[in-house]
């Protein structure tokens, strides 16, 4: 099972091709497809699949890239096709190629008008989006060979793929033109075998193209008539494993009362800390000035923010308990005069306590990295010092 999504973007074109749009294909093996697929990729298989899809869709020139040009040399459309493999039960190439080409046919890009130097891109509301110009629909068909070409299987499943001798992939459109052909696995094929395969491919491609056309028409009809379309309709009604529920009303009449109850029962919230000061967009600072709470004896010369005065006793008390015994003894000494050791911010200072307990002070950290518990502790220390 493959999920395909096409999106577009306006970009400057490639220097070597200033009048052509850019096509970008990306096939991803989702980890849900098979237990062996890690997010770190299965590089070999992935590269091979990506190459086949690219050759099939890009080199066959099924999409007209000239029509994707908006302003020659400056702005062209970049069409990006993302393929996600959801379930790996064999024959990823076929499924991916069908999904890819259908997505490209189904895609509508925003309408653009150029007046001299000005380019206007219309939103879907202003003007109907425009489909891509697709010349033909190449579709891959895979053949698995067993026992040196004696047995031939079309559309191999995963188990069959594992034991096959060789693989032949033919990409063909409904006009019986071969777009890509690839033989891998080291099997040697006789000429009429290849011709036979191409005939089978022609039949299969005709069937699949018809199916695609019908699906696209259904979708178009559905959209025009305003009916439902998209994934919502893809869930089968009759299956026992599927279940639908119509829009459900939720009674939110007494929500306010219930909320009130909860709020009154809840404990009062802890004090809100200082409002962050916004320096620039994306940079904020909470609190100013730091005190090393790691048993330091340096005094910070910067002041702490005034809002921290609101620190409640309860939380400060908890923070105290969190500190080790060492630091609590420091608090005692702090009651006396603080010892200014150095003004340097980077220096690491080791000070011996009067009680013969060696202490190390960390280099002063940036105020942003300071934790609230440390601040609370600092507050308490400062209060004690002030007292």
């Amino acid at each position: 099972r493959v999920l395909a999504q096409v999106s577009c973007e306006l970009v400057p074109p490639k220097l070597s091709r200033p009048t052509e749009g850019v096509l970008f294909f990306n096939l991803e093996l989702s980890p849900m497809a098979a237990p062996g697929f890690e997010p770190g990729r299965q590089p070999e298989l992935l590269v091979q699949l990506n190459r086949i899809i690219e050759r099939c869709l890009r080199n066959s020139k099924c999409v007209d890239t000239e029509s994707l040009c908006v302003v020659a040399g400056e702005k062209v459309w970049q069409i990006r096709l993302d393929l996600h493999l959801l379930n790996h039960d064999g024959n990823i190439i076929d499924a991916a190629s069908i999904a890819g080409i259908v997505a490209l046919c189904h895609f509508r890009r925003p309408d653009v008008s150029v007046q001299g130097e000005e380019v206007t891109v219309y939103t879907p509301e202003e003007r109907d989006p425009v489909p891509l110009s697709i010349h033909h629909m190449p579709i891959c068909v895979s053949f698995a060979f067993f026992q040196q070409g004696t047995y031939l299987l079309v559309d191999p499943s995963e188990r069959e793929e594992r034991v096959m001798d060789g693989l032949l992939v033919i990409a063909m459109n409904k006009h019986h033109e071969i777009c890509t052909i690839q033989s891998s696995g080291g099997i040697m094929l006789v000429k009429d075998q290849v011709l036979r395969c191409s005939k089978i491919t022609a039949v299969k491609v005709a069937e699949i193209t018809e199916l695609i056309q019908k699906a696209l028409e259904n979708d178009q009809k559905g959209r025009k008539e305003g009916g439902k379309f998209g994934f919502a309709e893809s869930i089968p009604n009759q299956k026992i494993t599927a279940f639908k529920m119509e829009s459900a009303a939720v009674d939110t009449n007494n929500v306010e009362e219930q909320a009130e109850e909860i709020i009154t029962k809840a404990e009062p919230p802890s004090e809100v800390f200082a409002k962050p000061i916004l320096h620039t967009v994306g940079t904020a600072q909470i609190g100013e000035g730091i005190e090393n709470s790691w048993g330091d004896l340096e005094e910070s010369e910067r002041e702490e923010a005034a809002e921290e005065e609101g620190e409640s006793e309860a939380t400060a008390f908890e923070c105290q308990k969190m500190e080790t015994e060492d630091t609590s003894t420091t608090r005692e000494t702090k009651k006396d005069e603080p010892i200014v050791v150095s003004d340097s911010e980077e220096e690491e200072v080791v000070i011996l306590e009067p009680q013969e307990l060696p202490k190390k002070t960390r280099p002063q950290t940036n105020s942003k990295q300071e934790t609230t518990s440390k601040k609370a502790f600092n507050k308490r220390r400062k209060k004690k010092r002030a007292a």
């Binding site: 999504q5 989702s30 849900m32 993302d82 959801l86 998209g230 919502a232 494993t241 939720v250 939110t252």
Partner: protein
């Protein structure tokens, strides 16, 4: 009072009192141990689950299963938003999965966004829960995700569409468990007051009743013989 309630029921989907139509399909993928596709209106997410399975040495946990969540967006490579959502989902799932029954194994949950039309995170949560059910992993309770949007007037909109989310002042998502309707995870985007958050939470708990009934009905249908 009754008349007012009737009108609410007929309100347009996405209105304060309505959840969008849900549908869910289980077991739709053949390879994963458990899979589920969950649709909320136009938002759809596909969940695939493998587990309990062999785990790489570095990720092994000696006493419980190691749960990994991968969220894949539809276009482009996964970015920071996906990573943060993966963490939220992982923590919610870890709270309900009885990992202690399967130590030294790995449970991998892969979510693929198929369509995003609002309330994506809650759709992911619902798909994850249905996937866990389909895989048959031991759970202590089910969970569901509900998104509320607070518009400029302070009115609560449940299960908002993309447009409603963009116009809202705040968007809150809650993961609610099925045993006692407690909150497993809460995340907010935008600003709202404490009272408003409690109101949204109460509304989400009401909506959770409907969603759990939906889970029950869909599982009942699946295991019915008829």
């Amino acid at each position: 009072m009754m008349a007012a309630k009737e009108e609410d029921k007929m309100a347009v989907a996405g209105d304060g009192c309505c959840l969008r139509p849900f549908s869910c399909e289980q077991g739709l993928l053949s390879r994963p141990d458990g899979s589920a596709a969950f649709l909320q209106g136009d938002t759809s997410v596909l969940a695939g689950l493998y587990g309990p399975a062999e785990v790489k040495g570095s990720k092994e946990l000696p006493d419980r299963a190691a749960l990994e969540v991968l969220l894949r967006p539809k276009v482009g490579l996964p970015g920071v938003v996906e990573r943060s959502r993966e963490q939220l989902l992982r923590q919610t799932c870890e709270a309900v999965v009885l990992g202690a029954l399967h130590p030294r194994t790995a449970i991998t949950l892969v979510l693929q966004v198929m369509n995003d039309a609002g309330s994506l995170l809650s759709c992911c949560l619902n798909a994850a829960c249905m996937g866990l059910l389909d895989a048959g992993l031991p759970l202590s309770s089910l969970f569901c995700g509900v998104t509320c949007a607070l518009d400029a007037n302070g009115a609560i909109v449940l299960d908002p569409t993309t447009r409603q989310e963009q116009e809202a002042r705040a968007v809150l998502t809650f993961a609610i468990d099925s045993a006692e309707r407690k909150v497993l995870m809460a995340t907010t985007k935008g600003s709202c007051s404490v009272e408003e958050m409690q109101q949204c939470l109460a509304a989400a708990q009401r909506a959770a009743d409907t969603i759990f009934q939906f889970y029950r009905d869909s599982v009942r249908r699946r295991y019915s013989k008829s």
